[in-house]
Symmetry: C3
Subunit: 241 residues, 3 copies
Amino acid sequence: MFTLEVTGKVATITIARGAKANAVPIDQWGELEKLVVRANVSAASLVVIRSGDGRDFCAGSDLSELNLLSTSGLLRRRFRGVMKSAFARIRAVNKPTIAVIDGRCMGTGLSIATACDIRVCGPNALFAITPARFGISYPKEDVERLAMLVGSGQAARLLYSCDTIDSAEAHRIGLVEIFDRSGQPGAGLIQNIVDNAASSLMTLKAGLIGRAGADQRFEDHFATGEFATRLDAYDRAKTRL
Amino acid sequence: MFTLEVTGKVATITIARGAKANAVPIDQWGELEKLVVRANVSAASLVVIRSGDGRDFCAGSDLSELNLLSTSGLLRRRFRGVMKSAFARIRAVNKPTIAVIDGRCMGTGLSIATACDIRVCGPNALFAITPARFGISYPKEDVERLAMLVGSGQAARLLYSCDTIDSAEAHRIGLVEIFDRSGQPGAGLIQNIVDNAASSLMTLKAGLIGRAGADQRFEDHFATGEFATRLDAYDRAKTRL
Amino acid sequence: MFTLEVTGKVATITIARGAKANAVPIDQWGELEKLVVRANVSAASLVVIRSGDGRDFCAGSDLSELNLLSTSGLLRRRFRGVMKSAFARIRAVNKPTIAVIDGRCMGTGLSIATACDIRVCGPNALFAITPARFGISYPKEDVERLAMLVGSGQAARLLYSCDTIDSAEAHRIGLVEIFDRSGQPGAGLIQNIVDNAASSLMTLKAGLIGRAGADQRFEDHFATGEFATRLDAYDRAKTRL
């Protein structure tokens, strides 16, 4: 249900399981992780995660399977493990990661989005985290990423109430950074990012996720050919004006 | 001035001292703490703190008493201690806590609200933190909880300027999560929460306040009867559609 | 290009280099730091940083100089060092610091603003962080201060895309605390702050930047003459009503 395509500077992972609103079966989390690993080492300078058909982003874990977990501690541990590993891998991608969201974005589907650096949504997005409705819970790191984005108060409100919120409210509380009504959500942002220096993007990403060495890399950039070339192009453009 | 009532799944602590806009005398912080302890061990699945008469939430510490503090270091230490203990107890309640706010919510009255997980306000709420106007300060943990909710910049603005902000601005900056214009602020949110599984709410709360063991509890929920029952009810409802 | 003026309770540092949109040459960061040190020990009770001519706040580092950095590791280290030192000094000022922003506020110019406690902007402010456009990066602590204010998602969006945002969007995402359309941005806020007790402001600042001892200072304030005087004035004003 996950596929990866690298076109120019953009690696796109699509989620496609239309009949189930892109809900993820247990054994597919490992597939997502594999594609994230491939996108990470690809020549692309950013990674996009989006719906294959543009309708629902992802309805979360496939509920119809979760009753299997009731009798096996091993299976429960495995379920927890594959999700945790996939989200950690998205988080650690060494270049910008962007979730482009429209339609339903629920539960662990929203966890995919919060593992990315930036979230863009279209006008029909709907967000909810509903484990409390089913007598279950939400992974620790996913709670933490959610609270980092929207604050602990809005995290509590979403988790306790299972309320569904729309694009405008998600944008208002900071669950998505950009509410894009253009008809092609994310296209403008992606273009603006890939126009910039890929080496800069990787250093900025390292800084944003707190990797060591960001200070030294800040200094080193001034000695690169990329800086010389881009500064020169900028000076020429100014002179022509 | 504080009372506790448990009705069904909801424990409600009311604040009522109308002539003083619900300002709290020094010796009443311990009473608040006692009720919080009782609410915590009650059968309720969430705790609401609200005004008894629906006008002011709480005007903070009763200023008319605070001159007593000038001559006694012991009394100052006691004042600091009882407030700190009450707020810590609210923070540590093992189920969702919701402040329902209308009218004035000032100083340490706002500290009661920020110690809760979620804040809902009605249309007439007014928020301010005014110790700097009186040559005093605001407790360390209360500054930290405020900054966690609204950011250090808005915390600085409120603390330095003593500006009063209304419901709309409080909602905009994240000081309240929900601005409820329904005439019954909080009623909808509270209903949505108590419809969910109490065991889920307690695990989510543990995760939100960073208690250890949230990971293991995430897995354990799948083995509970509550999960089986709720999943079954969900499947039947779907089949009937 | 930087000047300091102390008038009554307000220390104002102005940035003035109009032909370059107030861009900062390498050797001027040390000058800024010196003025911040003087403002810190002045009799003022708050420090304002603003544009000298009221047009651009600060366009960041002077790009026309940065090619000098390509051949000298020593010069790069010095550049990094003087900026880091200046921002740390602003951060550590022992009283409230306010950036009043209109016009362009870019790159390390925005770093000056994020080092302050509060940001107020007028209607013509424009914000952008564009190092990725030039193949360079943004200092580690500046990324952290940015992410503290607007969240890691909006920080990523600004840093990766180099998008320019206006006053309304900066206000919406929390990059500025107050969008002041009054024609005299910041004047109202500054007046409200200096009306309050200078000793309170210093204790609150210590708490906001996490200095030790805030707890003890909270208690000690009740024993000060400032508290007695201000409480007395408040009681008299109430009685007159």
